[in-house]
Symmetry: C2
C-alpha cells in the first residue's frame, strides 16, 4: 500500500541491497506482527542490509526521502517497540544479517559481535573460549544482541552481572544522519567525554541503529549450586537475601522469588514437574538461590548448606531443598521458568513488569494485594521475579471461574492504575526490564518526572531532528 | 575585576544566598587555583549555596545575566576542570555546603548523599551501617562525591566494583535552565527511557550541576588478603591476572602493576618503607594482589596461597610475599601509593593516565619504551597502575642527572605525541580516569572519533544552548 512517491525510494533501496534483500508485499508477518501478537503493523518494505555500511546508506536514503524506519532484531520484544505501525509507510530495518562475531579477546575479556547475532550465539562464542557472557533470558535462542542492547535487557543474572548496559563496553552505531560512530571501545576505563554508549543503549532504536557491540566477558565459574527455600513471609525472604549477599558476596548469582500461588499454578498445569517443597509447610513464599563458585563444587555446596542452615535456624526459611545434581538444578530453574506458561494455560491476565527499592517490596505487595482484593474480590495475584534486583512480575489473574478475556478487557485500565500508582508512590518503575515501546508510552508520558521527560524530548529532537528513527516508540510523536 | 553589568547580578546573588555565602575579592585561591597548581583562575565571585533549590535559583540567575559558571567540589581534579578561567567573569559554584547524607537503606543497599559530601564521609556512612561504598582513591579525604560523579572517578577497586558511574543508581541534577531533575532512583532495573544519569556522570559540569546521588552499597567483605608477587615479564603478569580472575572471580578486588623502576624510586626516596621482594630476583615487574572474602581470613589465605603457588609453578611469578597481618597489608598498599610521591621527589615529569585493551599492554609498553629511548636516550619510564582495568600511569622522567624542569618544558609535546599516538593506534584512551577538563581538551578534539565529537557537541548545544555551563572544559567553545 505504498504511496506514489515511495516508488523512487524502493527502487533505490533495491539497488542498494539487491532485490533479494528488500522484501515487499504480503507474507511479511514474521516482521510485522509482534511476539505477543498485540501489534499487527504493515511495512512499506523489509530491508535486510548485510553490512554496517549498507545500514548507513539505507539510513541516509530514508533521510533523503523522509521515510521513517523501525529497527528490528529477533522480534521478541514485549512492548511493541520493533514492529511497524499500520501506515504502510515505515521501513522495517532488520539487522538479522549482521551476524558476525568479529573478535574474542581472551586476555581483555571482551567479545565484539554484530547486532544480528543471537544472544545464544554470543553466549556460545564466549563459551568456546572458556569464558562466560552472562546475559541470559527466556528468548535467548531467538533474540539478538542488538535488540538486547537497544532495550537494555535484564534477565536472571542481573543481581551479579548487571543489565545489558553494564555488560557493554563499546558500540558501533549508525546515527540518524547515516554516519557511523566507531565506538567499539574495549576499555574498562575511558573518561574522554560524554557517555554516548549508554545513551544509545536502552533508547529502543529512537536515536540511532546499533550495528555492533564490544561486550564484557567473565571467567566461567567452576561450579553452580542451586536450592529452593520456603519462607514464611516476604520480610523473611528479604532477610535471607541479605544473609546470602553478606555471606556469599558476588558468588550469589540468582535470587528469585516465587509465591506459593505460582507453585500451585505450575502444579495444576504441569503436574509432571517435581516440586521439592511440600505444600503443607504453611510458607506462602519460596526463593530459588543460585551460587556460582570459582573454586569447586564441594566449596559451593558447603557455602550454600551453611547459609541455608543459618537461615532455617533464624526462621528466615522453614524448609529448603538443595539440588543434588545438575539435573535437579535444571528442574528447579524449569519450575521457575514454567510460571509464565502455567499462567498462560490459566488464561489471559494483566501483566506488570515493575521494579521497587527492595526494602519497599513487602509493604508494597501487602498494600497492593489488599487494594486489588477490595477492588475485585477473589482476584488472583501471580507474583514472582528477581527479588535480588527489586524486579517483580506482578501479574493479576481473574477470580477462579471468571472469563479471563472479559476480565482483561474490563479491568485492565483500572488495575494498571491501581498497581502503577502504588509503584510510583514508592519510587518504583513501571518498566523494569521490558522497556516502553508502544505499550507503555502513554503511561510514561503521564508518570515520568516532567524535567526528565523534557530532557528526553530535547535529546530526541537534537539527535533525530527529522523524527525518522522509530517514531512514536518510547516518546510520543511531537 | 567585575564589569559594570555584573553589579546587579552580584546584588541579586547576594540576596539569594546571604552575604556570607557569596565571596568576592582577594583570598579566594583555595577556589581559583587547581590542586596541581597548573591553572590559576580568577572568579567573578564564589557562590556557596546551601540547598539544591538555591543552586537552581542561582543557575536561573546566571542564565538571566548570561554569567557562565564553574561547578566545584573538593577542587582535587587533575585536569583543570573545576577552576574558573582568568576572565574574572565566571561564577565559581562551590557545592561544598550540600553535605547531607539523606538516607541509608540497608535492605536496598543504597545511600543517598548530597554532592558536597566528602568521599570519605560517604564511605564512613556506609561503614556505620555495616556496609561498603567501594569507591576509593588517594584524594578521598578531600574530594566530594559530586566531583567523583562529575568526573566518573576510578580508583583502586574498579576491577571489582566499576567506576563511579557503575556505583550510581540515581541523580538529582540542576539543568542549565535551572530546573531540578528529581532522578534519585534507587532501582537496579529501570527501563523507562533514555539514560540521563550516565549522560550527566562524567560530563564535568558542562551539562548541568549534580546536587545529590543515590549510590550502590555492598555487603562488607569479612577478610582481606594482600600479596606482592614478582613477575619475570609483562606477559607473565597478564597470565597471573587471568589465573587470579579464573580462580577467585569477584573475590579479586585489586591487581596493581608496579615496575621494578618504581620500587627502586620508592627505595631511594623512602628507604624506611619495607620492600618485601629482594631486588636480585631479576624480575622487572611486581603485582599487588588483593582478595576480599565473604567467608573468613583462613579461606582467603588458602585461596591466595594456592593461587600464588600455582603461579610460581607455572613461572608466572618468580617470588611472592603474602601479608601476614593487616599492618603488613597496609605497608604493601603504602608502597604502591608512595610511587607518585617518590616521583615528585625525583623532580617534574610527564604524566599519562592511559587505558588500553589489557591484551595490548605488553606490546604497547615494549614498543613505547623503545620509541622513548630512541627519541631521548636514558629517559626513565615510571610505569604503574591498575592492570586489571587496563589503566596505566605511564610517566616519563628525565634521564638521570638532567634538569627535570627543562626536560618537561622541552620534551612534553613530543613525548605526549609519541605516547598518545601509540595509545590510539591500539584502541586505547588518552584519559582513563582523570577526565579532560582544560588539560586534554585540544588532544580530545584532535583525536576523538569525529562522529562522536559531533554527537557530543550536539548534546552540549541542545542541553546548554547559552553555553554557560563550565564552558571550554571537555569541549572547545563553539
Amino acid at each position: 500500500m505504498s504511496a506514489p512517491g515511495d516508488a523512487g525510494f524502493l527502487d533505490r533501496a533495491r539497488q542498494l541491497l539487491g532485490a533479494d534483500q528488500l522484501l515487499t508485499g504480503d507474507g511479511l508477518e514474521a516482521y510485522e506482527l509482534d511476539w505477543r501478537k498485540r501489534y499487527a503493523g504493515r511495512a512499506l518494505a523489509v530491508a535486510r542490509p548485510g553490512t554496517p555500511a549498507e545500514v548507513a546508506a539505507l539510513v541516509r536514503l530514508c533521510a533523503e526521502h523522509r521515510v521513517s524506519l523501525v529497527p528490528q532484531g529477533g522480534n521478541t520484544g514485549l512492548v511493541g517497540g520493533g514492529v511497524p505501525d499500520g501506515s504502510g509507510r515505515q521501513l522495517l530495518l532488520s539487522l538479522r544479517r549482521l551476524r558476525q562475531v568479529r573478535q574474542v579477546d581472551r586476555d581483555n575479556l571482551t567479545l565484539c559481535a554484530e547486532a544480528g547475532c543471537l544472544l545464544a550465539e554470543v553466549q556460545a562464542a564466549a563459551g568456546a573460549a572458556g569464558l562466560l557472557f552472562p546475559l541470559s533470558l527466556g528468548a535467548e535462542g531467538s533474540c539478538t544482541i542488538g535488540g538486547n542492547l537497544a532495550t537494555n535487557a535484564g534477565g536472571t543474572q542481573v543481581l551479579r552481572y548487571g543489565n545489558a548496559r553494564e555488560l557493554c563496553l563499546g558500540l558501533e552505531v549508525v546515527t540518524p544522519q547515516g554516519e557511523v560512530w566507531h565506538g567499539l571501545c574495549g576499555l574498562r576505563k575511558d573518561n574522554t567525554g560524554y557517555d554516548l554508549r549508554d545513551l544509545f543503549i536502552g533508547s529502543e532504536g529512537t536515536l540511532g541503529v546499533i550495528t555492533a557491540a564490544t561486550l564484557k566477558l567473565f571467567p566461567a565459574p567452576r561450579a553452580t549450586m542451586t536450592a529452593l527455600a520456603a519462607c514464611p513471609t516476604l520480610d523473611a525472604a528479604l532477610a535471607l537475601l541479605g544473609r546470602a549477599r553478606a555471606g556469599a558476596g558476588a558468588t550469589l548469582t540468582g535470587f528469585e522469588l516465587i509465591s506459593r500461588a505460582c507453585l500451585r499454578l505450575v502444579q495444576r498445569h504441569f503436574p509432571q514437574i517435581p516440586q521439592p517443597l511440600p505444600d503443607d509447610a504453611g510458607a506462602p513464599w519460596a526463593v530459588l538461590l543460585e551460587l556460582s563458585d570459582h573454586e569447586d563444587e564441594a566449596h559451593a555446596r558447603l557455602l550454600l548448606e551453611r547459609l541455608l542452615g543459618d537461615a532455617l535456624e533464624a526462621g528466615e526459611a522453614v524448609d529448603a531443598a538443595v539440588a543434588q545434581s545438575l539435573a535437579q538444578a535444571q528442574q528447579l530453574w524449569h519450575l521457575r521458568e514454567s510460571i509464565p506458561l502455567a499462567q498462560s494455560e490459566e488464561g489471559l491476565n494483566i501483566k506488570h513488569d515493575i521494579a521497587l527499592p527492595i526494602s519497599a517490596i513487602p509493604a508494597f505487595v501487602k498494600d497492593c494485594e489488599a487494594a486489588l482484593q477490595a477492588h475485585c474480590p477473589g482476584v488472583r495475584l501471580v507474583c514472582f521475579g528477581h527479588l535480588g534486583d527489586g524486579n517483580l512480575h506482578f501479574n493479576v489473574q481473574a477470580p477462579e471461574g471468571q472469563d479471563p478475556a472479559a476480565f482483561l478487557r474490563e479491568q485492565e485500565p483500572a488495575i494498571n492504575a491501581l498497581v502503577y500508582d502504588r509503584v510510583l508512590q514508592r519510587g518504583g518503575s513501571i518498566s523494569a526490564e521490558h522497556g516502553i515501546g508502544q505499550l507503555k508510552r502513554e503511561q510514561l508520558a503521564d508518570s515520568k518526572d516532567p524535567v526528565a521527560l523534557r530532557l528526553m524530548q530535547t535529546l530526541k529532537q537534537a539527535l533525530d531532528p527529522l523524527g525518522l528513527m522509530n517514531p512514536g516508540r518510547l516518546l510520543r510523536r511531537p
